[in-house]
Symmetry: C2
Subunit: 333 residues, 2 copies
């Protein structure tokens, strides 16, 4: 006789266009049951740009795809700057620091300053600075986080130094950990291993008050333009699984980065427009923050996904690509 | 001005004796608000043993600790066998197969047959067999799972063969995956790496109907007797984080293994006694399954934890160690 009884906790299986991300934001009531976003017309573009003092751009899928610039981006950014708009670039990718992203912008022919860039690696360091953190940080993640911690003077261990370390679990084996670690920062790490998982777990479980900070919880991300790759949701999930604690998230769609930016530049949120290619991080981040929102179809979201009954996140407008704003360019004499 | 706004999803921090495990079983109403378990007296022991046809023992913390046998265990098992009791040994540790555990029992001087052992590695294979699974399995885990899949004739890839594989994420990099994989099995894996995480993620996200099976979701476990180590909750959490799916759990406290055992031996559940050292896996597993339950303090649970207001899981009895049942031994003439 075959035994069929099993336990699944929810049985939820989301496939295809119903994109999965790490957001745990409650969306009840704040979005329309079915997204009903208009495609941006030239008059829409004019009124949106007129009302906007600051544009916040997601990078991947808006500015570039992998290592390729998206068509018309340089001219569009030049136009917006010539109209006196403030431009800010945000990314949940923590593998590079602000300095690292400046180099990437430069290599693509874009002149963007470090102070215009807000990566989740920067956000993690800014968060620790904002709370007056004085202890050590243990890092599961890559060089971007380490560089940003250096910039705010936070001592760190782990990160790239722990790549390749092995745990054999031989009889009596004991891993010592630094009791001065007061925060574990978890970002995407292609060299994730059991040593790092156990070290982070020991710090969070055994050091009183140790913080658990996630740069972001994206399920998947376009780390190469060839396919979707498991994102920092995996690294964060590993540490959640052994500590049973929820992290403090500093990247999109959590509010920290937006509040930080608005505070730093004394911005009114209704004068900010968030431009992104993902409904459940970028557009949600904008809507939850009280910003105007514009979805571009040059990244992961298709028009079909936007209009699907399963989507309940509606941007103010959507358009094919950022360069559609070039319709506002004055006709030259 | 310092920005303090952050997002935490729950802010729950469980520390010290409030042990964290991966169970998501709803416990509402099924346990007393405060556990009120009596310490087992000799008359209690007699009535419990009289009413019990089959004992199910957790291994770690009941039979052994790490590589050391717990005092009095061989004599107690001999006594119970001499009284005609059926003995079954269960463990959530998937790193060994039934055959592997038979060797471990033997090395400790215990004569236990493979058919008396139910490891979560065996349970994963038994589950696939029970559903008539005919495709390939991708394994995140160690040799125990691979050996058990061989025993039921399920083709497998991954596991130890993928230890040490690297992903560089260079421009254009693409990971191919086998479209015949119909199940990903995730067990404890000291060689967890990003290659395995991405491979498992691709199978679950892209192969239609691909199952996601967890041998268990224990947060921490005594892999050495020197400290607690991050358990399979980490490996499962990594795959949950990138797929946003909940696994089918075959180990404790899920019901699959108990139903399988009861069915195989045609056991009445009220004639089974579960003996374990963990409240939230062993005792919960027993209570949820309608078994009698006995907690031993020779493992991770202290009397203080059992009686703490935070604990709501009450075994029928508790005692210091399994050998306390030796009080039932007839006095020799």
């Amino acid at each position: 006789k075959v035994v069929l009884t099993t336990t699944t906790t929810t049985g939820v299986r989301r496939r295809g266009n119903a994109r999965a991300t790490g957001t745990t934001t409650t969306r009840g009531g704040r979005h329309m049951a079915r997204a009903n976003a208009p495609k941006m017309s030239p008059p829409d573009a004019k009124s949106l740009v007129d009302a906007t003092e600051t544009f916040i751009f997601d990078c991947d899928g808006v500015i570039w795809k992998g290592d390729s610039l998206i068509e018309g981006v340089p001219e569009t950014l030049d136009l917006l700057r010539s109209m006196g708009k403030r431009l800010i670039f945000v990314t949940n990718n923590s593998t590079k620091s602000r300095a690292g992203y400046t180099s990437k912008f430069k290599s693509l022919g874009l002149n963007v300053g470090a102070e215009e860039i807000f990566s989740s690696s920067f956000a993690a360091a800014a968060y620790l600075e904002s709370i007056g953190f004085k202890k050590k940080a243990y890092v599961v993640g890559e060089t971007g986080i380490l560089e940003e911690l250096d910039n705010v003077g936070v001592q760190h261990i782990g990160g790239e130094a722990d790549a390749g370390k092995q745990v054999t679990l031989k009889s009596g084996e004991l891993m010592h950990h630094d009791e001065d670690v007061g925060a574990v920062i978890v970002g995407f790490d292609r060299n994730i291993n059991y040593y790092k998982i156990q070290y982070a777990t020991l710090c969070i479980r055994e050091n009183p008050g140790c913080l658990f900070i996630a740069t972001n919880t994206d399920a998947v991300t376009h780390l190469t333009d060839a396919q979707e790759w498991a994102g920092n949701g995996s690294m964060v999930g590993a540490i959640k699984g052994s500590t049973k604690q929820e992290p403090i998230v500093v990247g999109k769609p959590a509010a920290f980065m937006l509040d930080y930016i608005a505070n730093k530049y004394s911005l009114r949120k209704d004068q900010i427009c968030m431009v992104g290619d993902r409904l459940d991080t970028d557009i949600l981040f904008g809507k939850d923050g009280g910003l105007r929102t514009m979805l571009v179809l040059s990244g992961v979201t298709t028009e079909e996904t936007l209009k699907s009954p399963e989507n309940d996140i509606a941007p103010d407008f959507y358009t094919d690509k950022l360069a559609d704003l070039l319709c506002l360019k004055p006709v030259e004499a």
